[in-house]
């Protein structure tokens, strides 16, 4: 009996201890909170030695950066890159065009403008080979010895893969027109359209409607069926899908019907036209009995 009472007293005591502990944490939440709201707040970069001496400098923690105002468009870095992650387009002013391309910080007069300077950091392998050929020293790895030019980035994370393709060029469309290269704009537009189309075909982009390439040739086929199908669909809105065929008990007949359904779907037949097509297919295989036919006809009136 004594142990029984002692157990109860000990139990009550430990319950109170536990609850006071959690209450302390509940009330002191401001001082004790351990969560960091990551995308909104970030820890400071740790002050460990990442090799500020050029010989120790660890470029893998770094990132390529271009001071585009200093770029003269010599393409040396593009040629040096072993993985072709740098893409540069340049435009020279045509003869007689007095467009001022600007001056670099080394007092070199620029002879062309750079409408595109992209670096795909998902491909970059941090070999540093593009940095050394640059005559203007405008492409470099951030941080380390170049800390004064551009401090090291906190992280490389992006919300999408496209985000890792960094565009450094600042030339506006007006600049390109002024320099007399409307054809470049035209070409760029075409290239973008081609890219979007390719992405749609690959299914990477969810397009607003049908696939534009596929739409053109197919459009001709359903023209005959469309006017027939459109009217009843609007009137009763036929509820007919591949599960509707499940009422057919015989496996063989059901298989033929489902095959016909898919065929009709591929030919963009809808509603009544689709049911007609299935009935015709079943008739062709001489598997059409009276019940199946009447049920299928029933779907035309909209009763499921």
């Amino acid at each position: 009996m004594g142990e029984y009472i002692n157990n109860i007293i000990y139990g009550v005591k430990s319950l109170i201890t536990g609850m006071s502990l959690t209450l302390k944490h509940f009330r002191n939440k401001k001082n004790l909170v351990a969560t960091l709201q990551y995308p909104h707040e970030k820890w400071p970069i740790p002050e460990r030695n990442i090799g500020f001496d050029p010989s120790e400098y660890n470029t893998i923690r770094s990132r390529l950066h271009v001071d585009i105002d200093d770029c003269i468009g010599c393409l040396q870095c593009e040629r040096a890159c072993p993985v072709d992650c740098i893409k540069i387009d340049t435009i020279k002013p045509s003869k007689g065009n007095e467009f001022d391309c600007g001056i670099t910080s080394n007092d070199t007069r620029k002879k062309m403008i750079v409408p595109r300077f992209t670096i795909d950091m998902s491909e970059c392998m941090y070999c540093d080979l593009c940095v050394h050929p640059c005559p203007e020293e405008c492409i470099y790895m951030v941080g380390g010895p170049n800390d004064s030019k551009h401090e090291i980035d906190y992280e490389f994370s992006q919300f999408e893969r496209h985000g890792l393709v960094f565009e450094f060029a600042t030339a506006t469309d007006q600049d390109i027109i002024d320099i007399g290269a409307e054809s470049y704009l035209e070409k760029r537009k075409q290239r973008e359209q081609k890219l979007t189309r390719a992405e749609k075909l690959e299914g990477m982009l969810i397009s607003e409607g049908a696939v534009p390439v596929a739409a053109a040739p197919v459009a001709a086929a359903p023209v005959a069926a469309a006017p027939v199908a459109a009217a009843p669909v609007a009137a009763v809105s036929i509820d007919f899908n591949i599960k509707s065929i499940d009422f057919i008990k015989d496996k063989e007949v059901r298989g033929i019907a489902k095959k016909a359904f898919m065929g009709a779907k591929r030919a963009k037949l809808e509603g009544v036209a689709m049911i007609d097509f299935i009935i015709a297919e079943l008739d062709k295989a001489s598997k059409l009995d009276v019940d199946t036919k009447s049920t299928l006809e029933g779907f035309k009136e909209g009763k499921a």
Partner: protein, 372 residues
């Protein structure tokens, strides 16, 4: 004490309809209100529970989802829209029914549990005169209706045709049936002293004397026995062996998803609300202000705090505090083993309850002899 139904019947008596027809029409108003209370309670309580859990564990809890562009401060209001987003997700989820489940029973189970919680609300008072129907046997009715849920739990576990579910529902049944005894015996003390099963009468007795928890040392113990037992009855941690995540996945709810699971959730939080209100009404003075704790030396002018309208604030603040304590329990104590659970009920609570019953009877007898 009048009830909401009576008031509504009086209000609409000008229509001249027969009372039985009028009753059917009028009943929709309290029914919808109860449902609304249940939904709002679940929505708010889930959010608060997540925040309380987070703060007790030195986290922040939901912080990303705002409400209509409002995305409060850095602490409590941070993710105020989270529960609504979760509710929308739950209601639009696919309703999965296992192939080998008993489909009719599986559909039936959530509704039985829901109806159990819903019917209990009929006798639960929110303030003076603010009860759907004022039963003479309110305490008994609440006890009876809150037991209906067990049937739903057993059906849910059995029809899922899943060993986890079956284990969970068996444990739940054993637990709930056991813990009803200490609950009943604790409520019996109030009935014994007041001499009525009517919740209004019980509060009236407390208005004339003192809060029932301070009636005698025995009722003080009885309150804690009652409260711990109702935590077990609502299957909450540390008594959550029916749905013990680490052992049984989700216990009897394992096979449920989407809307049906949302109904379980709704009922669980409604049950929390019900037991908290009952505990407040029977032991903590119901809709009386805290000034009525002992009813000694209080100027009469302070009694303005004891109106029916302000009563709802007192009762809800008491009930919400008890709900908070339940959450506090949940994030403090580890789960009991099955044998510990049964030990606690049969070897600790029930002997203490019986002793309480005996001593409170003696107390009343002696009090009757000496103070009257």
């Amino acid at each position: 004490m009048t009830s909401v139904v009576d008031s509504l019947l009086n209000l609409f008596s000008f229509t001249g309809l027969d009372n039985s027809i009028l009753l059917i029409l009028v009943l929709h108003i309290p029914a919808l209100s109860i449902f609304l209370v249940m939904v709002v309670n679940a929505t708010v309580a889930v959010y608060v529970e997540r925040k309380v859990a987070a703060f007790m564990q030195d986290r922040l809890g939901p912080m990303e989802v705002g409400l209509f562009g409002f995305k409060g401060g850095k602490k409590f209001w941070g993710g105020i829209g989270q529960t609504i987003a979760d509710a929308i997700k739950l209601l639009t989820k696919e309703d999965i029914v296992p192939d080998s489940a008993d489909k009719k029973l599986m559909l039936l189970a959530p509704f039985i549990i829901f109806i159990g919680a819903f019917l209990t609300f009929i006798a639960v008072p929110f303030s003076q005169n603010l009860v759907v129907s004022d039963f003479n046997i309110g305490v008994f009715y609440i006890m009876a209706m809150s037991s209906v849920g067990v049937i739903g739990i057993i059906i849910a576990g059995w029809s899922s045709n899943n060993k986890w579910s079956l284990y969970g529902s068996m444990r739940a049944a054993a637990q709930i049936v056991s813990y009803e005894i200490p609950i009943g015996l604790s409520l019996l003390l109030a009935v014994l002293v007041v001499g009525s099963l009517n919740l209004g009468d019980i509060v009236q007795w407390q208005a004339e004397n003192r809060w029932f928890i301070f009636h005698s040392p025995f009722t003080f113990i009885a309150f804690f026995i009652f409260f711990i037992s109702v935590v077990a009855e609502t299957n909450r941690t540390p008594f959550d062996i029916p749905e013990a995540e680490s052992e049984l996945v989700a216990g009897w709810m394992t096979e449920y998803s989407g809307f049906k699971w949302a109904i379980f959730f709704l009922s669980e939080y409604a049950n929390m609300m019900i037991v908290s209100i009952v505990a407040s009404v029977v032991f903590l003075g119901g809709w009386l202000s805290p000034f009525a704790i002992i009813n000694v030396g209080i100027p009469n002018s302070w009694m303005i705090f004891d109106g029916p309208l302000i009563g709802i604030i007192w009762l809800m603040s008491k009930a919400l505090f008890l709900i908070f304590v339940m959450m506090w329990f949940r994030w403090t104590f580890p789960r009991l083993r099955v044998d510990q659970l049964m030990y606690l009920c049969w070897k600790v609570f029930i002997p203490f309850c019986l002793a309480n019953l005996f001593f409170v009877s003696i107390w009343e007898l002696i009090g009757g002899l000496f103070f009257k």
